[in-house]
C-alpha cells in the first residue's frame, strides 16, 4: 500500500506542485475510501467475534453427556423437636444399560451377578439382546453396590442418580410423617401438609433447591415416640387386641409429643399402608369413648356452678327410659357424692349429673370442648365425630357415660388437656409451639376452679378408683378408665370392647395428657378381666414410667398422700 502511494507522487511533486496536490488528493481519496472499507470490514469481523465472545461468556457451560437425571422434586428434611432426622432425601444410583453398546452380553450378566446375585438371568439377557437404546437394570442401588459395579468395568452400562425419601425410623412415626409418592410428592400425613403449605408451589416454580430448604421441625420427640409405639406393640400382643393407640399431648401448649397407632406400616416400603386395618385410629378413627367421657360429664356439672364436689346423686336404682335400663357396672346401690360417682364410674350418677345441665346444655358443653366438631390440625387424616341428629333425653343419658356419640381419641385428649390446664382449649399441633403462642390461640372454655376439682378427681381415681394400675411411683399420675362395648351389627356386644385410659401427670401441675386405647382386648390369661383398668391403665403406666424422664418431669415423693388429705365423706 505504501508503494502504491509513493509511485505517482514523485514526478508530480517535481513539475506541477499544485496539480500534484490535486492528483495526490484524487489518488489519496481513492485509497482512503479503500482503507475505510477495509477498516469497516475488519471492525465488523472483530465486532462479530467480540459479540460472540460476550454471548459465550453469558452462557453456562453445559454439563456432561449421557442421559439426564430424572428431575425429582427436593423435599426438606423433617426433624423432631431435638433436631433428630425423621425423614430425609437421599440420592440413590440406578443402573441402566445401553444394549447397543454392550459387547458381550453373557459376560456382562455374569459379571453383574457377582455384585447383584439375585439379578434375573433370562430376563436381563433378553433386555440386553434387544435393540433398545436404554433399559433399566436395577433401581436404587446402595453406594457400595454402585462402587462394586463400577469396578467391574463393563462397557455399555451406567448410573443415573435418583432422589428417594428415606425414613430412618421406619414404622416409628409412620402415621404422623405420612407418605410420598414416586415423584416425591406428599400424599399423606405431615408430608402432605408440607406440600399444601407451599412446598408444591415452590417446586412448581423450580425454586425448591435442596440446599435452600430449611429442615421442617415437628413437635414430636422421637425417643418418646419410640417408647409409645414399643409399649403399644407389647400391649397389643399381651392383651390380644386387634389394635392399640396412644397419644402424649403437652397440656399447656397443645403440642403432640408422640402419637402412635398399631398396626401401622413402614413408610420406606408402604405396601400395606392403605389396608383398612392400618388406619391411624388416633385421629382418623371415631369411637364411642366409653367412661372416659364421664370426665367431661363431671366437669360440665361442676362448671355449671349447680354442682360442687360435695353434691350427691341418687344411684340406688337403675334409670329406665323407654326400652332402655341404665345400670351401674360396679353398682353401690346408694346415694353417691360427685367424687364417688367418678371413681366408681357410675353410669346412673353420670346420667343424673348430665340431667342437671339439661339436654341443650349438655350438647353445648361438648361442642364448647370440641368433641363434636371436626378437629383442626396439620394432619390431613382427621375423622368427623358423629352425634345423634336430634338430641333426646335418652341420648343425653347415654352420652353422659360415653355411648351414642363417637369422637376421635386425639380430640378426647385435647378436651382432657382443657380439663387439666386451667380451662384452655388448645387446637392440637404437630409443630413446635411455645406457651405464649398457645395462649394466643387458646379458647377459655372452663372456670379455673373446675380444673382444680378435675385434677383432684383424676388423682383420686388413680389412688383409690379404677385407675390404680396406672400409678407410677413419683410421677403423680391421675386418670380415668373407659371400657366401652363395641357395636356389632347394631347391638352392643358383650365380648368386644374398646378400652381407653385418659391420664395426666404430674397431677400437682399437669404437664402432659396421655390417652391410651386398646381395640378389642381380651383377658391377658383366661379368667382375668379385660376392663380398661387391667390393660389400658397399665399400658399408660408403662409409657409414663419410661417417657417421663425424657419429658423433663422430675419424680417427687412428697406428694403421694395429697389426695388422701381430703377424705371421702
Amino acid at each position: 500500500m505504501m508503494r502504491f502511494l509513493r509511485k505517482p507522487a514523485q514526478p508530480d511533486a517535481l513539475t506541477f506542485p499544485i496539480v500534484v496536490q490535486g492528483g495526490r488528493s484524487v489518488s489519496g481519496g481513492r485509497a482512503k475510501n479503500r482503507i475505510a472499507m477495509v477498516t469497516v470490514a475488519f471492525v465488523a469481523i472483530y465486532a462479530t467475534v467480540a459479540g460472540r465472545l460476550v454471548v459465550y461468556g453469558m452462557q453456562d457451560p453445559e454439563g456432561g453427556s449421557g442421559p439426564v437425571s430424572r428431575v425429582t422434586a427436593s423435599r426438606p428434611d423433617i426433624v423432631d423437636r431435638n433436631g433428630e432426622v425423621l425423614a430425609t432425601d437421599i440420592k440413590t444410583a440406578s443402573l441402566f444399560a445401553e444394549p447397543r453398546r454392550i459387547v458381550d452380553v453373557d459376560e456382562a450378566i455374569e459379571k453383574l451377578s457377582l455384585v447383584l446375585p439375585d439379578i434375573p438371568h433370562e430376563q436381563t439377557y433378553h433386555k440386553l439382546k434387544s435393540n433398545a437404546g436404554f433399559v433399566w437394570l436395577r433401581r436404587q442401588l446402595t453406594p457400595k453396590q454402585q462402587a462394586d459395579i463400577m469396578a467391574l468395568g463393563i462397557p455399555g452400562i451406567g448410573f443415573r442418580t435418583e432422589k428417594r425419601r428415606f425414613y430412618p425410623g421406619g414404622e416409628t412415626a409412620s402415621h404422623i410423617l405420612g407418605l410420598t409418592n414416586v415423584d416425591n410428592k406428599g400424599i399423606a400425613g405431615i408430608e402432605k401438609y408440607i406440600d399444601d403449605a407451599g412446598l408444591a408451589d415452590l417446586q412448581a416454580s423450580g425454586l425448591a433447591i435442596a440446599k435452600d430448604l430449611q429442615p421442617f421441625e415437628l413437635s414430636i420427640d422421637i425417643r418418646v415416640q419410640h417408647i409409645v409405639r414399643d409399649e403399644l406393640v407389647r400391649a397389643m400382643e399381651r392383651y390380644h387386641a386387634i389394635a392399640a393407640g396412644a397419644v402424649i399431648l403437652h397440656a399447656k401448649t397443645g403440642e403432640v409429643l408422640a402419637m402412635a397407632s398399631v398396626p401401622d406400616f413402614d413408610p420406606n416400603n408402604p405396601v400395606n399402608a392403605h389396608e383398612k386395618d392400618r388406619l391411624n385410629r388416633m385421629s382418623a378413627g371415631v369411637f364411642e369413648m366409653g367412661s372416659t367421657i364421664k370426665s367431661f360429664t363431671t366437669a360440665m356439672a361442676l362448671d355449671s356452678g349447680l354442682v360442687t364436689l360435695d353434691s350427691t346423686f341418687d344411684a340406688s336404682r337403675p334409670i329406665t327410659i323407654g326400652r332402655q335400663t341404665i345400670r351401674d357396672f360396679h353398682g353401690k346401690g346408694r346415694v353417691l357424692t360427685v367424687p364417688e360417682v367418678f371413681i366408681y364410674s357410675s353410669n346412673i350418677g353420670s346420667a343424673r349429673e348430665a340431667d342437671v345441665v339439661g339436654i341443650e346444655g349438655h350438647r353445648e358443653f361438648l361442642k364448647r370442648i370440641g368433641l363434636l366438631d371436626r378437629m383442626q390440625t396439620e394432619l390431613p387424616e382427621v375423622a368427623t365425630p358423629t352425634e345423634p341428629k336430634v338430641w333426646k333425653k335418652v341420648h343425653s343419658i347415654t352420652i353422659s357415660f360415653g355411648h351414642g356419640m363417637s369422637t376421635t381419641p386425639l380430640q378426647t385428649a385435647v378436651g382432657a388437656a382443657a380439663l387439666m390446664n386451667g380451662g384452655m382449649l388448645l387446637p392440637p399441633t404437630f409443630l413446635p409451639r411455645t406457651v405464649d403462642e398457645a395462649k394466643a390461640v387458646a379458647k377459655q372454655v372452663l372456670n379455673p376452679q373446675t380444673t382444680e376439682d378435675m385434677r383432684y378427681l383424676y388423682r383420686l381415681n388413680a389412688e383409690k378408683g379404677s385407675g390404680k394400675k396406672a400409678e407410677v411411683e413419683g410421677y403423680r399420675v391421675g386418670g380415668k378408665t373407659g371400657t366401652a362395648e363395641k357395636v356389632v351389627n347394631g347391638r352392643y356386644s358383650t365380648d368386644k370392647r374398646f378400652n381407653a385410659f385418659l391420664a395426666a401427670f404430674p397431677m400437682d401441675d399437669p404437664q402432659y395428657v396421655v390417652l391410651t386405647i386398646l381395640d378389642e382386648p381380651k383377658p391377658e390369661k383366661p379368667g382375668m378381666g379385660a376392663t380398661s383398668g387391667s390393660n389400658a391403665a397399665p399400658t399408660a403406666a408403662a409409657i409414663i414410667r419410661r417417657s417421663a424422664p425424657l419429658l423433663g418431669v422430675s419424680p417427687r415423693f412428697d406428694f403421694d398422700n395429697e389426695a388422701q388429705v381430703v377424705s371421702l365423706p
Partner: protein, 125 residues
C-alpha cells in the same frame, strides 16, 4: 523512511505475536481453571451427597428402636436396668462435701474428719 517502516513493522508484529501469545495463555489458563472448578464442584457435590447419606446413616444408627435392641442384647453382660424414679436426684439432694483431709498424721485425720461447716458458696461468719 522504509527502514523506519520496517522497524515499526517488526515492533508491531512482535506486539501482535506477544498479544496473541498472552491471549492464548490467558485463555488456556482460564480453561484450566474452569476444568479445575468443575472438578471441585463435582467433588463438592459428591461430598454433599455423602454427608446426606451419612446423616441418614447416623439417624438410622441412633434410632431408639435399634439402641433398645442393643441394650436388651447386652443387658445381662453389662448389668443394665431401666432407671427407677427413685434413682433421679437433683444437685440439691447431694450431701455436703466432706472437709479435705490432711493425711500427714493420724491426729490430723481425727481432728478434721468432721463435715465442713461451710457450705459451697457460703461466707464464713
Amino acid at each position: 523512511m522504509s527502514k523506519m517502516f520496517r522497524t515499526t513493522d517488526m515492533i508491531l508484529i512482535a506486539v501482535m505475536l506477544g498479544g496473541a501469545g498472552v491471549t492464548f495463555k490467558l485463555k488456556h489458563d482460564a480453561e484450566d481453571r474452569l476444568a479445575h472448578i468443575r472438578k471441585l464442584e463435582a467433588e463438592i457435590r459428591y461430598e454433599e451427597d455423602t454427608i446426606d447419606l451419612l446423616k441418614a446413616d447416623w439417624a438410622l444408627l441412633n434410632q431408639p428402636g435399634r439402641l433398645q435392641r442393643l441394650v436388651e442384647a447386652f443387658a445381662e453382660d453389662l448389668a443394665l436396668h431401666p432407671v427407677e424414679p427413685r434413682q433421679f436426684a437433683s444437685l440439691n439432694d447431694l450431701p455436703v462435701r466432706p472437709f479435705e483431709v490432711d493425711a500427714s498424721s493420724v491426729a490430723a485425720i481425727i481432728e478434721s474428719s468432721e463435715i465442713d461447716p461451710i457450705l459451697t458458696g457460703e461466707v464464713a461468719q
